[in-house]
């Protein structure tokens, strides 16, 4: 079942810096929501607080009305929320295939129409799916993940998140360090994932391309929501351009 995510008055404190100051937002089921903003705006902190990797000082995070604020990251992952973290963070000592299997760690067997699909079956299906999306990973499946190039590592990180069969996919800068052509491919894949009825929360620097596939977007500045609105409207906004390139 697809998930709705709600953030209410989120505050995150990093000791000396306040990374998020009273942020509220809603991510509707089956939509792509983009979070834009310059560096240091708190985008990554926001996504990390949803996945439980960062502890929230005050405020609430609700997943389908159920509070998940400050839950353990693995418990959030078990609720079908998967993340592709910033900077790829591939597991260096493991092979490509093992990295993907780590993504499938919390999968459980599934009952559909009285038929049980075993965990193994699901893992294999998802593996085929991910290899379909990213054929290069299939070629390199036995290779050490650290020997991959930057773009391949990014694909691995996204593929790994997809291996958890997420209903809510959290993507932190998926286009980071990727050649434009590959970025295009990745955004195509995101569209497909959305078609399957899944929800995506995406943090990006690559504003235009993101807004083109997103339904709704928030722009953060110094830990606060500066604008929000439909992606279609924002794409024409000149202020956005300024935010990125300075006066």
């Amino acid at each position: 079942m697809p998930l709705t995510l709600e953030l209410k008055n989120l505050v995150v404190d990093y000791g000396i810096v306040k990374a998020l100051k009273d942020v509220s937002m809603t991510v509707e089921t089956g939509s792509i929501v983009a979070i834009l903003g310059a560096n240091g705006a708190g985008k990554t902190t926001l996504i990390k607080s949803v996945s439980g990797a960062v502890k929230v000082a005050s405020g609430k995070i609700l997943l389908d009305g159920e509070e998940i604020t400050n839950s353990e990251p693995y418990k959030i992952a078990e609720k079908n929320v998967m993340q592709s973290p910033e900077g790829r963070m591939i597991l260096a000592g493991l092979t490509v295939e093992e990295n993907l299997l780590v993504g499938a760690y919390s999968l459980k067997s599934l009952k559909i129409d009285g038929q049980t699909i075993s965990k193994k079956q699901r893992t294999n299906d998802l593996l085929t799916k991910v290899f379909n999306y990213f054929p290069i990973l299939k070629e390199r499946r036995k290779q050490q993940a650290s020997t991959l190039s930057g773009g391949e590592q990014q694909m691995l990180a996204i593929g790994r998140a997809l291996m958890g069969d997420p209903e809510l996919l959290l993507l932190d800068e998926p286009s980071l360090g990727l050649a434009p052509l590959i970025v295009k491919d990745i955004f195509e894949i995101l569209k497909q994932i959305k078609k399957e009825g899944k929800t995506i929360l995406i943090v990006e620097q690559n504003a235009y391309q993101t807004l083109k596939i997103a339904d709704y977007a928030y722009v953060l500045e110094l830990g606060k929501v500066k604008f929000e609105g439909k992606a279609k409207d924002l794409i024409k906004d000149e202020q956005l351009m300024k935010a990125y390139l300075g006066e």
Partner: protein, 318 residues
């Protein structure tokens, strides 16, 4: 011939030591610290085992052979107690201290060494205790026949090995083999390796890293216990279980881990085999400088290869 005998005996001898080494690496990889209490927790297990086997120490030095079943029970109880103690260290101490550094963790394990040192005489008395050799009561069983024929076969070609050493090696070999297979092919193993590589990402991917870490401590405790029991029973002399008998073993295990490199699981195991071989070689020719030369030799290697013989450098961003 002599050198072959030395090699074979060194490999046999390094079996139980490999258990201790593996335990150290397991904890280093999942908790990024070195557990100095490993040996002491193992010592507790050895004491418990002797206590179950012989409630009162035999002063004459005649160690009565227990039955196979009592031996098995005694060992199991010892291992389980160590398993629990070690797990509690992680759950009770490390999980409840927020800003603990790797050196802080080291210091805590040193504190545990002190506590156990103080408590052992309280529970087990002040005199040294003894563990009989394992396998002394296997006579007539299937394993016994195979082992005996093996040992005798080697003797026939002029290589002398000891029966109980072979048994100790086999037990260690089976356990380490199982652990390697588990690490490579089971869900738990994947969890451990993912946690060892990057704990944050592992937990994001749905791995309960706290459970993995606690289990690693527990398993390390159990391995240390088995190592202590096997090593003391291999000695076979009266009073082979003393408060500090595992310290030297632990030093060997640590140096093996440094020699092989902490970044892999197999490196330290090869390290302990090499170390045992050279230790036997040096101590028979260079006494009393044997150990000194050996450890200086390891340091020299580490000076040239700081990450150990099999260590891999993982470039990280500042």
């Amino acid at each position: 011939m002599y050198i072959i005998e030395l090699i074979i005996n060194s490999i046999l001898q390094s079996g139980p030591l490999a258990l201790a080494t593996f335990a150290i690496v397991l904890i280093f990889r999942t908790s990024f610290t070195t557990n100095f209490a490993q040996g002491m927790i193992g010592t507790v297990a050895a004491f418990i085992t002797t206590y179950i086997l012989m409630p009162s120490p035999d002063i004459t030095g005649n160690v009565p052979s227990p039955t196979f079943l009592t031996y098995l029970i005694a060992i199991s109880v010892g291992i389980i107690v160590s398993f629990i103690i070690s797990m509690l260290v992680d759950i009770v101490i490390f999980r409840n201290s927020k800003y603990i550094t790797p050196v802080g963790k080291q210091i805590v394990t040193m504190g545990i060494v002190l506590i156990i040192t103080g408590l052992i005489p309280f529970f087990f008395g002040i005199s040294d205790r003894s563990l009989p050799r394992i396998g002394a009561n296997l006579e007539g069983t299937f394993i016994d026949t195979i082992l005996l024929s093996g040992v005798e076969g080697l003797r026939d070609i002029g290589i002398f090995v000891k029966y109980h050493m072979v048994l100790g090696f086999l037990i260690s070999f089976i356990i380490i083999g199982t652990l390697f297979i588990m690490l490579k092919y089971t869900r738990w193993g994947l969890g451990v390796r993912a946690t060892a590589s990057n704990e944050n990402v592992a937990s994001m991917m749905g791995i309960n890293t706290r459970f993995i870490t606690a289990m690693s401590w527990a398993i390390a405790g159990g391995l240390g216990a088995l190592a202590a029991i096997l090593i003391s029973s291999n000695k076979g002399t009266f009073g082979n279980v003393t408060v500090y008998f595992m310290v030297a073993i632990q030093v060997q295990a640590f140096f093996a881990a440094i020699l092989g490199g902490f970044s892999t699981f197999h490196g330290p195991i090869i390290g302990i085999i090499l170390l045992t071989f050279f230790k036997n070689l040096f101590t028979s020719y260079l006494n009393p400088w044997g150990n000194t030369v050996l450890y200086l030799f390891v340091l020299l290697i580490v000076l040239i290869k700081p990450l150990g013989l099999f260590g891999k450098k993982i470039a990280k961003k500042v």
